[in-house]
């Protein structure tokens, strides 16, 4: 079970035992509801809302505890303890952002594993295996999210659904365009009697091409963002101390020592995380 799912389930149970309905406290967007379906975590709306609230409350509490300990150790100003309050919505914002990242990452995981999975499927079909037998063999291998989607499709097929409808149903559970195209081609080929092997060969060729393009796009983005990452999260945090020291002596400017905590332990790590999440979500994964 992923950490997010574990937090969602546990927080949901805690809120339920306290008689609090988290759905009444958090307003969800349409895209978030779709994201819950596509995240592959199997959590309810109430559990998702509980996860957001739990992360927000934990951020506020963690800050309060940490800041109290640091105040006792270093004699900081207790007034800044009030900043624990805005950290609750900030924590919720971070939790939303992270969940959206996980949904994008899962779509990426499908895209990255689909090529290998389709190659495997193709070789199974060429060796004379039936489509459900081939899907079963591919699903039992480690193709990440693709194996999970194929397992879901096989469950539908075993429950009596046709292969076309099972794959159509499963493709609605992933934001991956590549998987949807594959499911649509598969349904079309099965309903019209076209050669499935030829359809898969075409899909594999397209994916191979798109993977090469993905490497180029990633290289370009990486070249742009790596400079930003180095300057914004490497050089700037280091130089800031130097600038503050020099500015303080030359212009008599003195930044409250407590603000260092927000700049260095919140702003800079969050910027780094956002840039790396952006890069990770377009990584070609080879």
């Amino acid at each position: 079970m992923s950490v997010v799912k574990a937090v969602a389930v546990d927080a949901g149970a805690v809120f339920a035992s306290l008689g609090i309905d988290p759905e009444r406290l958090v307003r969800l967007r349409k895209s978030e509801r779709l994201g819950m379906l596509q995240a592959g975590m199997d959590i309810s709306t109430a559990q998702y809302c509980a996860y957001l609230l739990a992360v927000g409350i934990a951020a506020g509490l963690l800050f309060a505890v940490l800041y109290t300990a640091l105040t006792l150790a270093f004699g900081l100003s207790p007034a800044y303890l009030l900043l624990a309050l805005p950290l609750v919505p900030l924590g919720m914002f971070f939790a939303r952002y992270h969940f959206a990242f996980l949904v994008r990452k899962r779509a990426r995981d499908v895209d990255l594993n689909l090529l290998d999975a389709l190659r495997h499927l193709l070789s199974e079909l060429r060796s004379g295996e039936t489509i459900s037998g081939a899907a079963l063999n591919v699903a039992s291998e480690d193709y990440g999210a693709v194996s999970d989607l194929l397992k879901e499709a096989l469950i539908y097929i075993n429950e009596g659904a046709s292969i076309e409808s099972a794959f159509r149903e499963v493709s609605s559970r992933t934001p991956s365009e590549a998987f949807r195209n594959f499911a649509a081609s598969l349904s079309y080929s099965l309903s019209t009697g076209n050669s499935l092997v030829q359809v898969l060969e075409k899909n594999v060729r397209e994916l191979e091409l798109s993977q090469r393009i993905a490497v180029s796009i990633y290289a370009n983005e990486c070249s742009k963002l790596s400079t930003f990452v180095v300057v914004l999260t490497g050089v700037l945090p280091g130089l800031l101390i130097f600038a503050l020291a020099e500015g303080g002596f030359v212009f008599g400017f003195r930044l409250p020592v407590e603000s260092f905590m927000f700049i260095y332990l919140l702003a800079f790590p969050f910027s780094k995380y956002v840039m790396q999440a952006k890069l990770a979500s377009i990584s070609p994964g080879v």
Binding site: R119, S123, V229, G234, Y264
Partner: protein, 321 residues
């Protein structure tokens, strides 16, 4: 070497325990150790992790307690050094096993092509395996192939004989190749098409990976350098200049306790930054953030700490801080 290994095993044997923490470390290492097939078992490696932690803590506490005051800071830093040392030992089997898997994948296309050429001629997988297994001295794949083939010839069922290559070694290409080989041996199915495709897939993937590494390898390390090199260097510079200014102006901008807090916050960001960068590196190399933290974090953290301390001392000496 054998004598040293024997001593190491005996020493590790004394440290082994059934505590939940020890068992968890052992469980985490088991997969990698099974792939490596070294002299040391997962339990021995887990014991070495514990020994590494204890030794690093003792040595660093002795040195740091003499150099840093108050004692609680020295002990805290020693704990961090000990954790980094334990992580380094823990990461070693992961790195070695991953290296072995990548090396086996590189040798796979040439093995498959030899296997296929014999199989196409004789239509007999046993003969093809015999020829391909002993055809070339595949450095990493070879011992596994020879052992599996010897087991098969000795009468083990194909699934059992090739179990390591078809399942234990966590590589989808190696697993798929030997999955087909086993299926062919068991059912007589013609797998030449499937193996031919697989050989092409492995070559294409390796080629693409090489292209990606040549295009973005340097940039990925630049990103890691942001927290492992640039940040500690400039942060040390800033702190040293601040101290130098204070000496020149005979005035303290921040009290000693406030400066202690600032240093703690700076080290906190160093820790968070290195962890994020190590995870990112893992995401790029293995597609796994946690694995990246396990493998790269200890070395990067040690490097960042060393750069921070060396820069602070040398710049401090230069500007008279």
């Amino acid at each position: 070497m054998e004598e040293q290994l024997r001593l190491l095993k005996a020493f590790a044997g004394r440290v082994r325990s059934d505590s939940p923490a020890f068992v968890a470390i052992e469980r985490g290492l088991r997969g990698s150790v099974e792939v490596m097939r070294g002299e040391l078992t997962a339990g021995d490696w887990a014991a070495l992790v514990v020994i590494g932690f204890a030794l690093a803590f003792a040595v660093s506490a002795l040195i740091l307690a003499a150099a840093i005051t108050p004692l609680i800071f020295a002990l805290g830093l020693s704990l961090a050094v000990a954790l980094v040392a334990a992580f380094s030992v823990y990461a070693l089997p992961l790195v070695l096993s991953q290296g072995k898997i990548w090396a086996m994948e590189r040798e796979l296309p040439s093995f498959i092509s030899y296997l296929l050429s014999v199989y196409a001629e004789r239509r007999n997988m046993h003969d093809a395996l015999l020829a391909a297994t002993y055809a070339s001295d595949y450095r990493h794949l070879g011992p596994e192939l020879r052992e599996a083939f010897a087991g098969y010839r000795a009468g083990a069922p194909p699934e059992k004989a090739y179990e390591r290559l078809a399942r234990t070694v966590r590589s989808r290409y190696v697993n798929r190749t030997f999955g087909w080989v086993v299926r062919c041996l068991e059912t007589g199915l013609d797998v030449s098409d499937a193996l031919g495709m697989l050989s092409h897939d492995v070559s294409a993937t390796l080629e693409l990976a090489a292209e990606k590494n040549s295009k973005v390898g340097m940039m990925t390390w630049m990103i890691s350098a942001s927290s492992g090199f640039f940040y500690p260097l400039f942060a040390a510079l800033g702190l040293a200049i601040m101290s130098a200014f204070e000496r020149l102006a005979a005035f303290q901008m921040y009290s000693p306790s406030e400066k202690g807090f600032v240093t703690l916050v700076l080290v906190g960001y160093l820790f968070a930054g290195v962890m994020l960068d190590a995870g990112y590196n893992g995401q790029v190399k293995f597609g796994d953030f946690r694995r990246g933290v396990m493998v790269y974090f200890p070395a990067m953290m040690l490097l960042a700490f060393a750069i921070f301390l060396v820069s602070y001392k040398s710049i401090g000496a230069f500007v008279g801080a």
